[in-house]
């Protein structure tokens, strides 16, 4: 199967590879997939006081389309509000990267990772708030 130029570009020059400290309260982490399935994607967002995604990073174990989907997702996430970020659709990734039907699940994985990262960030925000309420 031939890959689109955009997939090849993201694969060869992946954007925003790396990790943030997952215990940092401003960081949300999404980890989806499983090694037995042949794909694992870790996507992290760093959110500022205004609720804007300031930075994003990824690491992916999987095919070229999975690597490209997550690399593209980190690019798109930067500068978005959490609501905007939550609305990123896998179909937009499919369209941007010209993914063929057998590679749609790679983009679904990226969408899942984004949502999981946002939920993780929100959960973390809530927990210390509750704690404060108790000790006050």
């Amino acid at each position: 199967m031939a890959y689109s130029d955009k997939v090849v570009d993201h694969y060869s020059n992946p954007r925003n590879v790396g990790s943030f400290d997952k215990n940092d309260p401003s960081v949300g982490t999404g980890l989806v997939g499983a090694p037995e399935c042949g794909d694992v994607m870790k996507l992290q967002i760093k959110v500022n006081e205004q609720g804007i995604v300031e930075d994003a990073k990824f690491k992916t174990y999987g095919c070229g389309s999975a690597i490209a989907s997550s690399s593209l997702a980190t690019e798109w996430l930067k500068g978005k509000t959490l609501d905007e970020a939550y609305n990123i659709k896998n179909t937009e990734i499919v369209a941007e990267l010209n993914l063929p039907p057998v590679k749609i699940h790679c983009s679904v994985l990226a969408e899942d990772a984004i949502k999981m990262a946002i939920e993780d960030y929100k959960k973390k925000k809530d927990v210390p708030a509750e704690k404060e309420a108790v000790t006050a």
Binding site: V8, C37, G38, K42, K59, T60, Y61
Partner: protein, 404 residues
């Protein structure tokens, strides 16, 4: 070097130019039907077919009357299994095989199971080897056939065919072997190995695609088959259809060349194979050889690079034409059933690459393949969350994965 470098010789081989040369006259000059007894065109075609039969028989140590031409190993496998199951139905209904066989065997067995036959799939060890004691114990009164491949197409493991043949002969059970990957690459002698039926194909040994053969033992014991292709009664009634004369001529020539050059060719390939394997295992941490280290086809390398996914890796080694056991490359999105049968976990199947070397593979190409692979593995490990977790000391087996 010619890019991409072809390293998929377990899938198919290019034709040797000497084979093509031998075939050429049979397309446009000697184009008769080998079954036409009434004129020179037919006689010459038949003569060419008989010469090829001799060349093939010489390679595997049988007589010309024991070669049945087919369209390839898939058809030979089907003819052997279906033909025996039908012919010996009154004697029994039990067949023994391996889970690591080619689909041409597995799917035929599945079909036979749906039609009242009983099939035992013996398990294999971590190298893909059959357990001879388990085979001996699995044979029962109703067993009519043992079908065990000579060498595996994915992992290159060579089975102890002579020992299997001996057990089958002792027990009086017919022994078929799918020797598609073995014939022309390693020495085969159907009598010394007690083989009763054997499938092989021209396109894996530098011959043309679309022609193969089934060896059918004629004496002690005489093996009988029900035909699966009905018609003009060609090939002693076992496979009807006008013979593919140019293909058969090429098949014969390919066998002749393999016989002459096997010794030097396999020595050269084993050197390249072992150079590749040893370099990977010594320079890439957490890389593993799939298949047997020594009982192995001379031209097969199959390695898993842990924490790197096979299809992702194939994209990195874009100058190499290789294949992977990764799910992502297969139509079913399932990782290789052969690697899974070795019982070493699905991850290693996902991260496997098969390099099939061949007659025209050079050392320069092998060196290039080694370097491009290692560079890509390093690049992908930098990208791999599993590699990162592993380096942080996280036990990947203890992680709760959000499988999709």
């Amino acid at each position: 070097m010619n890019f991409p470098i072809y390293m998929d010789h377990n899938a198919t081989t290019p034709m040797d130019p000497r084979v093509l040369e031998a075939m050429m006259p049979y397309f446009t000059k000697v184009y008769g039907n080998a079954a036409s007894r009434s004129h020179q065109y037919g006689w010459e075609a038949e003569e060419a077919v008989e010469k090829a039969r001799q060349q093939i028989a010489d390679l595997i140590g049988c007589t010309t009357k024991e070669i049945v031409f087919t369209s390839g190993a898939t058809e030979s496998d089907n003819l052997a299994l279906m033909g025996i199951a039908e012919m010996y139905a009154s004697k029994g209904n039990h067949i023994i095989t391996l889970p690591t066989e080619h689909k041409a065997i597995i799917d035929t067995c599945k079909y036979l199971e749906r039609h009242g036959k009983e099939v035992t799939y013996l398990s294999v060890d971590e190298f893909g080897m059959v357990d001879l004691e388990a085979l001996r114990n699995a044979i029962k009164d109703t067993t009519i056939l043992v079908s065990i491949m000579m060498a595996n197409n994915e992992i290159g493991t060579i089975q102890p065919v002579a020992e299997i043949g001996k057990i089958c002969r002792e027990k009086g059970v017919i022994f078929h072997t799918d020797a598609t990957q073995g014939v022309g690459k390693i020495p085969v002698d159907v009598n010394a190995m007690n083989i009763d039926l054997m499938s092989f194909t021209a396109h894996k040994m530098y011959g043309p695609k679309g022609v193969g053969a089934l060896y059918v033992r004629k004496k002690s014991p005489r093996v009988k088959l029900s035909e699966q292709m009905h018609g003009g009664g060609h090939e002693r009634g076992m496979r009807s259809g006008t013979l593919n004369v140019p293909g058969i001529v090429g098949f014969g020539k390919a066998c002749e060349i393999c016989k002459e050059e096997m010794e030097s060719e396999s020595k050269r390939l084993i050197y390249l194979r072992d150079k590749m394997i040893n370099t990977f295992l010594s320079r890439v941490k957490y890389s593993y050889l799939n298949g047997h280290p020594t009982e192995r086809l001379p031209h097969n390398v199959n390695v898993s690079f842990e924490y790197v996914e096979g299809e992702g890796l194939m994209m990195g080694i874009k100058d190499l034409a290789v294949s992977s056991g990764s799910a992502c490359t297969s139509a079913t999105l399932e990782p290789s059933y052969v690697l899974k049968a070795l019982g070493r976990g699905d991850e290693l199947a996902h991260s496997s690459i098969r390099y099939g070397l061949g007659r025209f593979t050079t050392e320069e190409e092998v060196d290039f393949a080694i370097e491009q692979t290692i560079d890509s593995v390093n690049h992908l490990r930098e990208l791999s969350p599993l590699w990162e977790m592993f380096n942080e000391g996280i036990d990947l087996k203890s992680v709760q994965w959000a499988a999709h």
